[in-house]
């Protein structure tokens, strides 16, 4: 395992912005889009995505083939999400999660979303924050490990 500094320098950096949400033919289901820009210095593969929140939900779906995004490139990701909330509802702490590969490591991107349901019942969402974590590590600590010399 690399040092925390090495981990950080290898960490993919992606910008995520909403790219629309339109109704599908199925009531309560919406086609939601995001633009993902690789703002880092290494290529990134997008492997799968899901939205686990019960009020703005899509099951995990693999991207087949994976999308390969070189530094500076932007791609659109689209998912059909289930959302049947009444007008005026605000859903906080929904997430778009994207499984990534970069270098020889796997990562997860967490884009925190806020969803506001308009008067017609259509969800609109903003992306509040984006974090990327290596798979298998919930946090990179800078504190010395207990018992280490």
């Amino acid at each position: 395992m690399g040092s925390p500094e090495t981990e950080r320098s290898a960490e993919p950096r992606l910008l995520v912005e909403p790219a629309g949400c339109v109704p599908t033919a199925t009531r309560g289901h919406w086609s939601a889009g995001w633009r993902l820009r690789n703002a880092g210095s290494r290529s990134v593969e997008l492997l799968a995505s899901w939205l686990p929140h019960g009020r703005f939900r899509a099951d995990e779906q693999a991207l087949e083939p994976p999308l390969v995004l070189a530094p500076g490139e932007t791609v659109r990701l689209e998912r059909t999400v289930a959302c049947s909330e009444p007008p005026g509802t605000v859903v906080e702490n929904a997430f778009l999660i994207v499984r990534l590969a970069s270098g020889d490591r796997r990562w997860r991107l967490f884009a925190r979303l806020e969803i506001r349901v308009d008067q017609s019942g259509a969800p609109e969402f903003s992306c509040e924050d984006v974090k990327v974590h290596p798979v298998g590590f919930s946090e990179i600590s800078t504190e010395p490990t207990k018992g280490s010399s």
Binding site: R42, S43, L63, P65, P66, V68, A70, E73, T74, R76
Partner: protein, 86 residues
């Protein structure tokens, strides 16, 4: 390398080919992809644009017609590696 659009597969929805390689691809009046300039970007970017088309409407072949993509994903990744993905 040759590029063409399988128009029946283009959903005119994601537009990822234009996002990744706008010098090569454009959209027609129906919002479907067309090849504007096959030499407008390097091979790596063209191949990544083809990969990003989930309906696989962007068809890339060698000059002799041998398929590059859609095709063997592993071979395509190795080719992208050789081209310098970073």
């Amino acid at each position: 390398m040759r590029i063409r659009i399988e128009r029946s597969l283009c959903t005119a929805q994601m537009k990822n080919c234009v996002l990744i390689a706008p010098e090569v691809f454009d959209l027609d009046s129906e919002g479907k992809a067309v090849v504007k300039d096959p030499n407008g970007a390097g091979e790596g970017r063209v191949l990544r644009a083809a990969l990003a088309c989930q309906p696989r409407a962007v068809i890339v072949t060698e000059d002799d017609g041998t398929p590059i993509w859609p095709g063997d994903f592993g071979a395509l990744l190795r080719r992208l590696d050789e081209l310098g993905r970073d």
